[in-house]
């Protein structure tokens, strides 16, 4: 296979791609964590956030935190189920890594261009539910158990709106492959004008909002952060985790936020593509464009996170089942009608 006119064996290519994913997830977590959790949240609360570590506006804070977590004592509660306890954060992080397999960052820069890209991405993102349940159960802590049960109910309930919101996009693009969706947006046109391509956010605005709400719930972020209700259960299912294992959960949380933001940017905003830019410039600019778009989406997610209070578990379920799913189904029907009729 050739990249930039160099011949590289597929084995080396695979290793390289695996390395990139292994780096992107913590790096994405770091960048999103710093920008939104430390700086944006602080400014929204009239304060500055970390300023000293690293000298310039505290950019080193999260790196320092990571190093701090690495050198902590590994504490496993006495009554905990040791193997399940140790394995739970690994599952949560694995599902994040797996999500990045299908997200394209350039015209050919994708780990595996699956034909069922969207389906695969959403299916794999729901693996983290098992990790959460394992964490809560094996912690031998009633608060952790309560958090895990809340999480299980919530995450499963919001899988459906997440999926149904994307069906409209798939129908409009005609393919489930993420590269195909990006090309459909890049090469499409709105009422004949192809100046900015056809980003699906305009036609699928309802789908976009549903996707954002459901993604917020999948990430356990306020207003859906009952599993990690800080002022009640003090970190819910993660409460017994410390040190390196907690770092896994943290990377998993923000890495999944990066993944969902990238997914939303790909599905609704055109991903790595800029209309009219093809070939080598697209390969070089692709990652940067995707990064900018995903930061925009993440800004919305975190903005909502830091403003709203949290919903109670039964209200949360009521919204998912009685409100979001009917709207998603209606969106699908309307999209289908418009697609067939026009």
């Amino acid at each position: 296979m050739s990249v930039l006119a160099l011949e590289i064996g597929w084995g080396w290519m695979l290793a390289f791609k695996a390395l990139v994913i292994l780096l992107i997830v913590p790096l994405g977590a770091l960048v999103l964590g710093y920008t939104f959790l430390l700086k944006m949240m602080s400014h929204m609360q009239s304060r500055l956030g970390p300023m000293d570590p690293g000298g310039f506006h505290g950019w080193f804070q999260l790196v320092g935190d990571g190093l701090k977590f690495l050198q902590k004592e590994d504490i496993i509660p006495e009554d905990a189920d040791r193997r399940v306890f140790a394995f739970a954060p690994v599952i949560v992080v694995i599902s994040t890594f797996l999500m990045f397999v299908v997200i394209p960052i350039g015209p050919v820069a994708i780990v595996a261009n699956l034909d069922v890209g969207v389906f695969y991405a959403l299916a794999v993102s729901s693996l983290s539910v098992i990790g959460v349940l394992m964490a809560g159960w094996s912690s031998a802590n009633k608060f952790a158990l309560m958090g895990a049960l809340r999480a299980a109910g919530q995450l499963i309930a919001y899988e459906l709106p997440l999926l149904l919101a994307v069906v409209g996009v798939v129908m409009q693009a005609g393919t489930m492959s993420l590269q195909g969706i990006v090309s459909a947006q890049q090469n499409g046109s709105i009422f004949g004008w192809s100046g900015i391509g056809n980003p699906f956010i305009f036609t699928q605005i309802i789908g976009f909002l549903l996707f954002m709400i459901a993604a917020q719930a999948e990430l356990s972020q306020t207003p859906f952060d009952m599993p990690v209700a800080e002022s009640e259960l003090v970190a819910g299912y993660m409460v017994e985790y410390s040190g390196f294992r907690f770092l896994f959960f943290f990377i998993g949380e923000f890495g999944t936020a990066t993944a969902f933001a990238a997914l939303a940017a790909t599905l609704f905003l055109g991903g790595w593509s800029l209309p009219g830019v093809h070939g080598l410039p697209a390969e070089l600019l692709g990652p940067l464009v995707l990064f900018v778009k995903l930061m925009g989406v993440a800004f919305l997610m975190f903005w909502v996170r830091f403003t709203y209070p949290r919903l109670r578990e039964d209200q949360l379920q009521a919204i998912a089942w009685k409100f979001l799913i009917p709207i998603a189904l209606a969106n699908i029907i309307v999209t289908a009608i418009i697609k067939v009729a026009f």
């Binding site: 400014h43 929204m44 009239s46 304060r47 209200q315 409100f323």
Partner: protein, 162 residues
């Protein structure tokens, strides 16, 4: 459960506006705020005025002032007078680990030997160093602010400035 949008959107607007307005953080220790002049930071001792009357020590709710003194004879000031006895301080310690910063000692002192100062940066790594002896208490004296004017409508202050 139908949501009316305005309340939710309004909330987003407020946080966005606050984000653009800038932070109110004072980056201590690079920047420091000056506390008001009356702020009860540390107590300064004017040793010359103290007569070891023990009023402050007795008035302290925590009994954190430790005073020891002795009497000495001074020669008469005028011809034919008798020698005076003066109280001299041996020990005047305030234990800031116990001090409640209530100010009763400063208030009851009849000889104006104790003053409040807004200085607050004297934390120590070990508790024993929080016992300030009389030399250290005297060192705080230069931080004691001037007596400030009172608000409009206050009764005029009877005693003169020290």
């Amino acid at each position: 459960m139908a949501f009316k949008l305005p309340g939710l959107i309004g909330g987003l607007g407020i946080t966005f506006k606050t984000m653009l307005q800038g932070a109110v953080t004072v980056q201590y220790p690079h920047e420091k705020e000056q506390p008001p002049a009356r702020s009860r930071g540390v107590i300064a001792l004017h040793e010359d005025n103290c007569t070891s009357c023990m009023l402050c020590s007795r008035a302290c709710p925590d009994w954190c002032i430790y005073i020891e003194g002795h009497k000495e004879e001074r020669p008469a000031r005028r011809e034919g007078g008798r020698p005076r006895a003066v109280n001299l301080l041996d020990r005047f310690d305030i234990d800031y680990a116990l001090c409640m910063y209530c100010g009763i000692c400063v208030e009851v002192c009849p000889f104006d030997a104790l003053f409040w100062s807004p200085e607050y940066e004297y934390s120590e790594p070990n508790i024993a160093s929080l016992l300030h002896n009389k030399d250290r208490l005297g060192e705080w004296f230069h931080t004691v602010p001037e007596v400030e004017p009172l608000e409009v409508g206050a009764a005029p202050v009877a005693k003169a400035k020290k």
